[in-house]
Amino acid sequence: MPESAAHYEEMDLNFSREIVKVMIIMMAFLFPKKKELRLRQDILREVYEDNLRIIGRKRQAALARRRPFFLRKPFLVALLTVLSVLMHGNFATTPFSLERRVSANTLERKPVSRPAEAPQDRINPSDYNALMGDAKMPLSRVFGLGIKTIMIDPGHGGVDTGTTGKSGTKEKDITLDIARRLKARFEKTGRYTVIMTREQDVTVPLNRRVEMAVASRADLFVSIHLNYLPSRPINIIETYYFGPSSDAKVLKLAEEENAGSQYGLSEFREMIGKIGDTMKLQEAKGLATSIQKNLYSNIKKENGNAYDFGVKRAPFVVLLGVDVPAVLAEVSCLSNAEEELRMNTESHRENIAHYLEAGIMDYLTKGEATYESGRRAER
């Protein structure tokens, strides 16, 4: 019997060992599963939150993690109530009242310093020359010439695709879309007639574009293009008005943009003869500066890789042939991969149209404001 008792004891022990083994195996099997399950649940929650962000919504309160009691609303309200009762009557020196006083001060009218009346001088012939060369006061403003018709020229089109980005984005498509958006923006104001050199993806030779601008009696001509700079992964923004240039890169760009202009040499010479048109050059430079400033300052905020290549002179045929102020804006750079991706979103193209509109409007209204304020000061 003792032998059999020892035998049973040993059996019990073996059985216990087996159970422990099985439990260890089960734990080893279950714990990683539980860990994996938790990992999966975390990932699913992140997918959900990521999608909420896409549609611009926040996680529902019910799904949010429970906050600790001292951060919950009822507790905070109660705490604030108790504090306000305890501190009753001591608000006179709190920052709130100071702020109120400061804001009240800002409403007070500041003394306006009026410019001293300029003595009436005798007019000399040289004053007319000064007037012609005064960059601060565009001649069209001096003579009260308004802008009624704006012609927008989406670069390239049809068989002429312009540059193509690495992801296949074509310059002709982007310029057309931005131009359409810009047109819609101006039309919304109800103040301008806007004409486009092309409304569809069609080939329009440069001379035809110039003819259209002349025939439609446009007061302003804005040509939209995209740059391509394969050697450097940056986004450059530059705006051109007509003029001679000694920069080889600018001349190369002009050669590319002028391709297929279909102008004869005699016509070209005739147009070159018009270069001395002070008003046109003066206005074009002002317009280019305003567009460049608006484009660059806004795009720089969105893309840190954007560089200001400034306002430049270049012999673009499309700018030369048009009798009115004309500029060519290279609004983006398709060789920059990030910029190309962004150019495929409607929101980015809408933004570019917005910046162009702001640049043009700044130019159109600045002159009026300057001129009007000058007149008011004279009175």
Binding site: D42, I43, L44, V47, D50, K166, G168, D177, N344, E346
Partner: protein, 342 residues
């Protein structure tokens, strides 16, 4: 079907959609699995409509009738060109068609997870949602390589290389939803091979008449980068007469042309990770997408990465449905409370 399929007495159809540059597929909780080539065509005019007999054509059907159609490949180069080329409309048509192919019951609610190329999710988030949401009751959008990783349970310490037509997407998984730094896209993919092959064949057989579509078919049938003993001969017309052409060398050269960039980017992605986990990731590299069908690609990548230490590269078993199966798994695992908020 999971327990979440039935909620509030309604039967829900879960679908996972892989919206690819070249092919799009759908896997549904009713066991339907379908795919089409990502081409959409609309008849050019009234006569074309009479000829093709349908207002919109898809995939192979659209390619065959391409002369009568305005043909669009909406995710060419991995992004939707919003407002251009009818790209968004084409995406809508593809989604609508895929859901029809999955055969939902009338008035059945559809909860969808859609996998898209990484760049597209980065750039076209809202456009994708807008294009898809019309046809589903609730929708979540993820990147294709992430959907593949989820479906294959590669949630931690792995690298998925999704070689598609327009782009190759890299995605490092480390136990969380991949952030922007964990993903990278390059343009060396199937379309690049097609361009190279087209140019090599043009140089070698300048009297032969072939087009990009034929070249793509040659690639899909014969692509390889390892040593292959058999000859590769295809029939190409010369002066109207079918002539056999040997294209073995050109196929190999064209397929190999994308691999240096892929190997380099793989190394770059792994180098970004905490050094402690680099070895684990190196031994868990998975190639997905149509590019995984290139014979010998896993061995080629292992060989090119060997100088940085040993590694293990495998290919998914079903590249056509790996993305949509993963997206379906995501949809079925998603807790009901998350769906209800969309």
């Amino acid at each position: 079907m999971s327990q979440a399929d039935v909620r509030k007495g309604e039967k829900v159809l879960f679908v996972g959609i892989d919206l690819g540059t070249s092919r799009s597929s759908i896997s549904a909780s009713n066991a339907a699995r379908k795919w089409i080539q990502s081409y959409v065509g609309w008849p050019k005019d009234f006569i074309s409509l009479q000829v093709v007999g349908k207002p919109v054509l898809f995939g192979e059907d659209a390619l065959e009738n391409r002369l009568s159609l305005d043909l669009v490949r909406p995710l060419e180069h991995g992004i939707i060109k919003e407002g251009i080329d009818r790209s968004e409309e084409a995406v809508q048509e593809i989604i609508k068609h895929l859901i029809q192919l999955a055969g939902p019951e009338p008035d059945q609610k559809i909860y969808a997870v859609v996998g898209v190329p990484s760049d597209s999710l980065k750039v076209n988030k809202l456009a994708i949602r807008k294009a898809v949401s019309e046809f589903v009751h609730s929708l979540m959008v993820v990147t294709e390589p992430f959907a593949v990783a989820y479906g294959m349970n590669l949630l931690n310490n792995s690298l998925v290389i999704d070689i598609g037509a327009g782009t190759t997407d890299f995605c490092i998984m480390h136990g969380t939803i991949p952030a922007e730094d964990d993903q990278k896209t390059i343009l060396f993919a199937g379309d690049y091979i097609d361009d190279q092959l087209y140019s090599y064949l043009g140089e070698k057989y300048h009297n032969s008449k072939f087009n990009k579509n034929m070249v793509r078919q040659f690639k899909e049938k014969y692509s390889f980068v390892s040593d292959v003993t058999e000859d590769i001969q295809v029939e190409i017309p010369v002066d109207g007469k079918p002539v056999m052409h040997d294209i073995k060398n050109e196929i190999k050269r064209a397929c190999e042309s994308i691999l240096p960039a892929i190997a380099e980017t793989t190394q770059e992605m792994i180098a970004r990770v905490d050094p402690e986990f680099q070895m684990k990731i190196k031994n868990n590299i998975v190639v997905a997408g149509g590019g995984s069908l290139i014979r010998g690609i896993a061995e080629y990548l292992e060989e090119s990465l060997r100088e940085y230490g040993p590694c293990k590269v495998t290919c998914v078993t079903d590249p056509l449905f790996a993305g949509s199966d993963g997206a379906l798994k995501l949809a079925q695992d998603m807790p009901p409370k998350y769906w209800e908020t969309f």
